[in-house]
């Protein structure tokens, strides 16, 4: 599948267009799972990935840990640079962006992490954490204005205003994930990359977080890139799903189709590994 760009569902100009993205790590410095599974000095963590993402769309990316999902996410945010490939964001050359252009584009793409607990500074109050991107990108906004916007965003994320003045450790895992989401959305990005946003959470809390992401996607007209090792989790929100194995997309299609009639052996393996709940009469 590498090399071909699979068109997004609607014909409009895509928000993000990725072509043949490639990134290798030297064996010594690469993550263990990648290093172990590849012979030779260089291991390609992302090995020729191409896709497009429409405005307002949710694309799911599924694969085992070490398959390159997080490396891909970091490339999309330009936290690391690819060895080769192209990326266009809002029609602009995202990889070529420098200086002021880089800064304006950068605030339009935000990330939500798996372990929001680890990504939140424990000594900072939640209001400061959520408002921090504003302090960086809108330095002239006074502190009161920053707090007001942080409070509004926390409310949109399902937490009360009073959360502003508390510390991350006072919140449960699910609430901390809401804080992480509020922080990611405070600059009104157009694209949110959520890397395993629910895999550290209980199924029931995870369902609430997925609901929240989907609601915010609609409210703020976001595009969402939802990354997870669980195909059923991803398929709850995504319209299309890409299955990633050893740095490549081995299957991509409509979520229903990938779930109901997986084409690639690896997709079938992933699905077979999912523990099933016996069907019962509790379903609506």
């Amino acid at each position: 599948m590498s090399g071909t760009v699979v068109a997004a569902a609607n014909g409009a100009e895509p928000l993000l267009e990725v072509r043949n993205l490639r990134k290798s790590f030297s064996r010594a410095s690469g993550p263990l799972s990648v290093a172990e599974s590849h012979a030779g000095g260089l291991a390609a963590a992302v090995d020729g990935v191409s896709f497009t993402l429409a405005r307002g769309e949710t694309l799911g990316i599924v694969g085992e840990s070490g398959c390159g999902k997080t490396t891909l996410a970091r490339l999309l945010l330009r936290l690391i640079e690819p060895d080769s490939g192209e990326m266009r964001f809002r029609g602009q050359d995202w990889l070529g962006a420098r200086g002021a252009e880089l800064r304006t584009l950068r605030r339009r793409i935000q990330m939500v992490f798996q372990d929001s607990a680890a990504s939140l500074d424990p000594r900072m109050r939640v209001g400061t954490i959520v408002g921090e991107p504003l302090a960086i990108h809108e330095p002239r906004l006074p502190r009161a204005g920053r707090l007001a916007r942080a409070g509004a965003m926390l409310e949109a994320a399902g937490l009360g205003h009073e959360a502003l003045f508390r510390y991350p450790h006072e919140f449960s895992g699910g609430q901390r994930q809401r804080i992480g989401i509020a922080r990611a959305l405070i600059l009104h990005p157009e694209l949110v990359v959520a890397d395993e946003p629910v895999s550290a959470l209980d199924v029931s809390v995870g369902a609430q977080i997925l609901e929240l992401l989907d609601r915010l996607r609609r409210e703020f007209s976001l595009s969402l890139l939802l990354i997870s090792h669980s195909l059923p989790v991803v398929a709850q929100l995504a319209t299309r799903v890409a299955v990633m194995q050893r740095g490549r997309f081995v299957e991509m299609g409509a979520a229903e189709q990938v779930l109901q009639s997986p084409q690639h052996t690896y997709t079938r393996e992933l699905l077979a590994a999912v523990p099933r709940i016996p069907a019962g009469d509790f379903s609506p």
């Binding site: 263990l32 799972s33 172990e36 085992e64 840990s65 070490g66 449960s172 895992g173 699910g174 550290a200 209980d202 199924v203 029931s204 809390v205 369902a207 609430q208 997925l210 609901e211 989907d214 090792h229 669980s230 195909l231 059923p232 989790v233 398929a235 709850q236 929100l237 979520a255 229903e256 779930l259 109901q260 393996e269 992933l270 699905l271 077979a272 590994a273 999912v274 523990p275 099933r276 709940i277 016996p278 069907a279 019962g280 009469d281 509790f282 379903s283 609506p284």
Partner: protein, 354 residues
Amino acid sequence: MGTRLELRDLTVELPTPTGWVRPVDSVSFALGEGEALAVVGESGSGKTMLALALMGLLPPGARAAGDARLQDASANGNGPAGHAHITPAPSASLSDSPRHASGKNLLTASPAEMRALRGRRIAMIFQEPMTALNPMMRAGAQIAEAIRAHERGLAAEEVRRRVLRALERAAVPEPERRARQYPHELSGGLRQRVMIAMALAAGPGLLIADEPTTALDVTAQKQILDLLETLRRELRLSLLFITHDLGVAARVAERVGVMYAGRIVEEGAATDVFRRPAHPYTTGLLRAAPGLGRNKLESIPGTVPPLNALPPGCAFAPRCALHAAACDTAVPELISVREDDGHRARCILAGGKA
């Protein structure tokens, strides 16, 4: 080998600045030899506290009450367990409990008695293997330590042989090489296997697994679940499996207990509980679980109540769509859902679902 565990009214209390709270409240069940029981619940529901109480590893200041006994299958219920270091006579406070004629109450055992039981009769594995593994020690040396803790004076060569056998039993590939590696040099799945090898090294009959696959992805999870199933069969191991994931529970266990705010709110055969849940909380959990169909998301509103502010009656009441005034008068009893098939639920609406 194989061990039976009988639990009656296990209650754990913890001191907090606002008074005592009860993370585990009157939990009772029996786990037969070679059987698997899954305890399902959200984090904070008390699952880990339940496990730690059985292991004698509660945090300082905590107190446990109730009755928890191990019984060797070989003893056939007719006498004390066959290990010399276990005090055969039941402690005085439990003499009025004839159902537990054998074994020592784990909840009143001394720290020394618990040290002798841990590893040898009852062992535990954790979600994060690094909780159990020492990052500064090679994997093999840690397993060797677990073996020597219960059998002093073994020849070095014999210990080495047993370490390799323990790793092989946990299906660790290239055991000789892995034994020489440090935990950080192993993948998540391998670390989990090393921890299992260590837990089983001294031949316990009961294994408590606390969310052992939660940090793993589905493929690594499947391998660990397959391994636990094999071990259960081959060693007649009894398994108490703790998870928040209903799919995992259904895969692992014949029987399930659903825990909410420290209490068992539904229990029974896994097929009954999953096919015909009788407690609205169980139904909510089942609806929130991502399935293989592309189902609409349906989460349970709200969160687990804090232990120092539990509702007076049913603890699930604030989140329950079927809540009525009668739910608030007293904590509902566990009542039989149908005839006597062991399927019970702690909900005033649970009866009459025949």
